[in-house]
């Protein structure tokens, strides 16, 4: 993970049907941990949500062959069950549970060291790419992840 660049996914472990599993390692050091929290570094819950959203986003991009862009628009039933700190490998699972018209809903969870860290239901709006640079960047990163 590169928290400062919002790059939350290190690699794709598997993609089968409408489900994806990705793996990432929370960095050992980051300015984020200087504030959250001094002397007791923890991965912020909002960044765990972002991590689940990005796993969902890569899944949807692949299912749409990178033709359109998913944007996070809703988070429901988010539960943060365990703390997770720096230098921890995490596994993120996301599954599309509904393919709507212009939106999709996923169910996602993060696990680390055999523990459930968090889970949520996410709604993503599916839109045309608003900029060609974004489409190219997503495809480029998708190629690095073995998706594009």
């Amino acid at each position: 993970m590169r928290l400062e660049y919002f790059q939350m996914v290190d690699r794709v472990a598997s993609l089968e049907g409408e489900s994806i599993t990705v793996e990432s390692t929370i960095p050992e050091a980051s300015p984020v941990f200087e504030g959250h929290f001094p002397g007791h570094p923890l991965m912020p819950g909002v960044l765990l949500v972002e991590t689940m959203a990005q796993a969902s986003g890569w899944l949807l991009l692949k299912l749409m062959d990178f033709a359109r862009m998913p944007f996070l628009m809703g988070v429901k039933e988010a539960k943060f069950r365990s703390f997770v700190g720096p230098a921890t490998p995490v596994t993120v699972h996301a599954r599309r549970i509904h393919d709507g018209s212009g939106y999709a809903v996923t169910s996602a969870r993060i696990e680390a060291e055999g523990r459930r860290i968090c889970d949520a239901e996410l709604t993503l709006r599916i839109m045309d790419f608003p900029a060609p640079e974004l489409a190219a960047a997503m495809r480029r990163r998708g190629q690095e992840l073995g998706l594009a």
Binding site: H98, D99, G100, S101, G102, Y103, V105, R125
Partner: protein, 93 residues
């Protein structure tokens, strides 16, 4: 079994701040009930699940924006219920 209008009105009341008794067959979902786009997608998701269909919101919106259909055709409650009934019938057929 409740009519499609009643089921959709219940879904709207459950997924927004609109009071159930304010929703009538002539209510425009956006202009009269003030449903915003985020709540509307939650409502569409609930309708998709409840009726086992995929409401083609994008196609409807494109038709309206292109001037090919009046917004009322899709977004006034009684018409929305009729469109849902058509989708359910098409799926069954």
């Amino acid at each position: 079994m409740a009519s499609s209008f009643e089921r959709i009105a219940d879904i709207i009341a459950e997924n927004s701040e609109v009071e159930r008794d304010k929703i009538t067959p002539d209510s425009h979902v956006i202009n009269d009930l003030g449903i915003d786009s985020l709540d509307f997608l939650d409502i569409v998701f609930a309708i998709d699940k409840a009726f086992g269909i995929k409401v083609p919101v994008e196609a409807w919106t494109q038709e309206v924006n292109a001037g090919k259909a009046p917004a009322e055709q899709y977004f006034v409650m009684k018409n929305l219920a009729a469109r849902i009934d058509e989708l359910v019938a098409a799926k069954g057929g």
